[in-house]
Symmetry: C2
Subunit: 586 residues, 2 copies
Amino acid sequence: MFRSHTCGELTQANINEKVTLSGWVSTLRDKGFMMWIDLRDRYGITQIILDEERSSKELFETARSLGREFVIQVTGTVIERASKNPNIPTGNIEILAETITILNESALPPFTIDDNTDGGEDIRMKYRYLDIRRNPVKNKLIFRSKVAQEVRKYLDAQEFVEVETPVLIKSTPEGARDFVVPSRMNPGEFYALPQSPQTFKQLLMVGGLDRYFQIVKCFRDEDLRADRQPEFTQIDCEMSFVEQEDIMNVFEGLAKHLLHTFKGLEFGDFPRMTFADAMRRYGNDKPDIRFGMEFGEITDLAKGKDFKIFDEQELIVGIAAEGCNSYTRKDIDKLIEWVQRPQIGATGLVWARYNEDGTFKSSVDKFYSQEDLAAWAERMNAKPGDLMLVMSGNTNKVRAQLSALRMELAERLGLRNPEVFAPLWVVDFPLLEWDEESERYHAMHHPFTSPKPEDMELIATNPGEVRANAYDLVLNGNEIGGGSIRIYDKDIQARMFELLGFTPEQAEAQFGFLMNAFKYGAPPHGGLAFGFDRFVSILDGSETIRDYIAFPKNNSGRDVMIDAPSPIDETQKQELFIASTFTGKE
Amino acid sequence: MFRSHTCGELTQANINEKVTLSGWVSTLRDKGFMMWIDLRDRYGITQIILDEERSSKELFETARSLGREFVIQVTGTVIERASKNPNIPTGNIEILAETITILNESALPPFTIDDNTDGGEDIRMKYRYLDIRRNPVKNKLIFRSKVAQEVRKYLDAQEFVEVETPVLIKSTPEGARDFVVPSRMNPGEFYALPQSPQTFKQLLMVGGLDRYFQIVKCFRDEDLRADRQPEFTQIDCEMSFVEQEDIMNVFEGLAKHLLHTFKGLEFGDFPRMTFADAMRRYGNDKPDIRFGMEFGEITDLAKGKDFKIFDEQELIVGIAAEGCNSYTRKDIDKLIEWVQRPQIGATGLVWARYNEDGTFKSSVDKFYSQEDLAAWAERMNAKPGDLMLVMSGNTNKVRAQLSALRMELAERLGLRNPEVFAPLWVVDFPLLEWDEESERYHAMHHPFTSPKPEDMELIATNPGEVRANAYDLVLNGNEIGGGSIRIYDKDIQARMFELLGFTPEQAEAQFGFLMNAFKYGAPPHGGLAFGFDRFVSILDGSETIRDYIAFPKNNSGRDVMIDAPSPIDETQKQELFIASTFTGKE
């Protein structure tokens, strides 16, 4: 038996008990006549002591041979601590060691195993197994496990069936790039890894399973941004005989349950906003509504006043940065530089101070009177002391730019409090978006999303205006889930593929099995998927999803710990009927 | 709202209520003046009626336009049924239809959606989504979901943390063949899909996570036998600071919990048997102990009696088939043919009847006296009325052959009752097995399994005799789980790789990250993995794991429903820096 207790559970109630603990040497202090060892395991830290009066020479020798991160087993007696540490649960006791056994030695770790480590990101990724010993990392993994468990309990209680859908499936050209897997038994053919179990969960509905869920790995071979991983986890759900409202109710319930369980928060009905309103009010389909700073459109007010720059633009829109009248000219110049960065790409900013005395001072005083600026202020809901910041240009672009500025200002003003939670449903998404490059429509969600019945006839005349029965759940400016009512009529599905530029042959080759399934009594159905990595991280007050993944990959898709991907044997490739065409760095 | 109730919940308590149901038309009966529709959903079947007196002409017309598997919505009033059906929960009521809405039509399904369908295996796989509508299939998927949920609850309560390990990992030459995934961002390199999360769970132990589990997909690119799938699911577990006994206790507890929850069975301590005993007594390391028919070795008794065939053999061993003295000569000839099939490969069978009067009649009466045969009977625990069947040859081969015969006889004698559960731990597996072909040792479990400390010195002198701290959990003749205490000392691990024929460079290239991790204080650890698909199927009284997988693949690794794997675009291959070398059917 390696231990009688863990390093996190002994208290004054155990005094005088003889115990055995096992764990890692966290710290060692040697005062000559006394020694202290902080012994650490997953559950906590317990202090071990040796003293000249009560401990043998040999024991001191063993203790002095220890180093940080050695794995040891200690037997001894629980005694009351002279100088108590109220910061840890075991802080009132210590163990007077009788025997110390070295279970394993340790080389000096490449960074300290402390809450505030000296290790940089790269080294911690390479030695991820050591990073996991640190509380902040370990606790995030445990938190994730608890959330998953709670999600399952909730859905299980509502008669959802967890069904495992296959990982080795079929490549489809729609959506992101697939990872593929050459088949040895079917030469020249490939499996693909699923970007989501979308078609399978729809087939389960055709199969009458009624309420499906799965916490499932999905895969996208995309160029990785900082917050994306090639493999990620979804809470994937689907229901039959439901309307949009039914689905939103169930998963709003789930979100409330998690916010209650893990944050102690109670919510009424989550607010809802149409996509069009979200874009108009926040320039963004996933607005962070923990704070205001709503957009004020002033196109009609700002045009026709001889300010050429504005006269030429499609949209003129601004926000009021609360209390930022105090910004110096230099501060404002920096903001202008910030919006001109290539990532944002704005040409500039017009600004107007709303002074405490009610007067205005702007960068465009030549063109706009105090009354003009007061009218702007009203649109932006600005108050004395605020700084109005105005951008102009093509509607979609300027909204995206001003939205980025709004988020940046919120960050600077401390308005993005991770302990405040502001959920929001965004509804009535467009069914399609026009892609300039390929000169065709793309599905905004995916090709299985149902148009709103009342917009059905627009499909023939004005497809871009058709709204979908689609909805996103937004939390603190992050899309944490999204879904839709699906098409379940084979003719509408065929029409949809046509709209998306598929020939009937292509549609048949790629989705024939689904359209075939729809011939045999597909029920009305719809669903939703949560980005589990993101949901967990936001729930835990963070936006770094990588921290909540045990073994994440870097931005080149590499696991630097195991050094994957890596070359494979030629014989392995031969068996798979493939050859590498890579001839060296390009 | 599509429904007020499901098709499984209305009873006499609901009489006179107005309800709305949605589901599939299961059967339609038309007597002219009355019609009956059996409406089916996931939850059950409810009978809908129309009658001339109370239902409109239009309603009859709609009902007559329906076909099997049409999806309809029915509104009506719950009434008491004249002829009650006690076999279903809703059998006391029916719905007098007021409106019927066709939600979706259905073509005639390719097989009947009944518990006993007319569809063969192939057609049901192609239309798996229709097969899932059938109760036997649907119920298996729901059962699987419930078992998974119960496993998680049990382990969660014992402080196990579910950690998701990566799916895109690194190819290793040890074990079965890997599926590989070409990397676009790392040209010429490949990920592999995990055969198990073995190294990751060990790294989690190095990371101090202490108790890990995961219900996880694993992948093996093997030639498929009838009961194997290229992707399968494991309950994967690992613990730190434990000995073999600790791990066996936890997972025996889990198995008992599931047997209790789903079968209402109570068990004391599971019996244990060494690998050596299992081979000797049953010729098999996963013996079915629901019945006896233990092996009786008679080598010493049967040799030296001028029967040449036996005199030349290493092992002579038999079993007593209970009550099979009644087998005719023809029956016995058929048994002999059975063991001579290439899958078994025996040369023949010696038989001896144990007559009710205590005499013997055998195929070798020329060589063996009644007393000789009585001595055999004692070894085989045969009783009057039994038939003794004896095989001889090389020890390993003949054990395997006789074990196959034992199982076949048990099947014929109805001894393999799926409602009887006989769990068994098999322990003390050999660490290594000699592979004639490659002329080297292979790891019997995997290269991370720890030798028994008391056998450690045999490693240098007689590696084949070294026993491992490894254990399998066997249920009804199936290995449902297996595990081991791991090596946690980097030097022993290096020695193990050497034994397995790795050069230090190969070991470093493949497992350098693990051996490196072992430098930094690896704790004593061990674990176990259950084959979830198999565990679930046996628990449900079946041995066909494919039935418990929502979308299984066939023996060529194909998903015949979605037609995967399939060819992919040339551009897709180019992006991945691979070319197909397959030039046509070989």
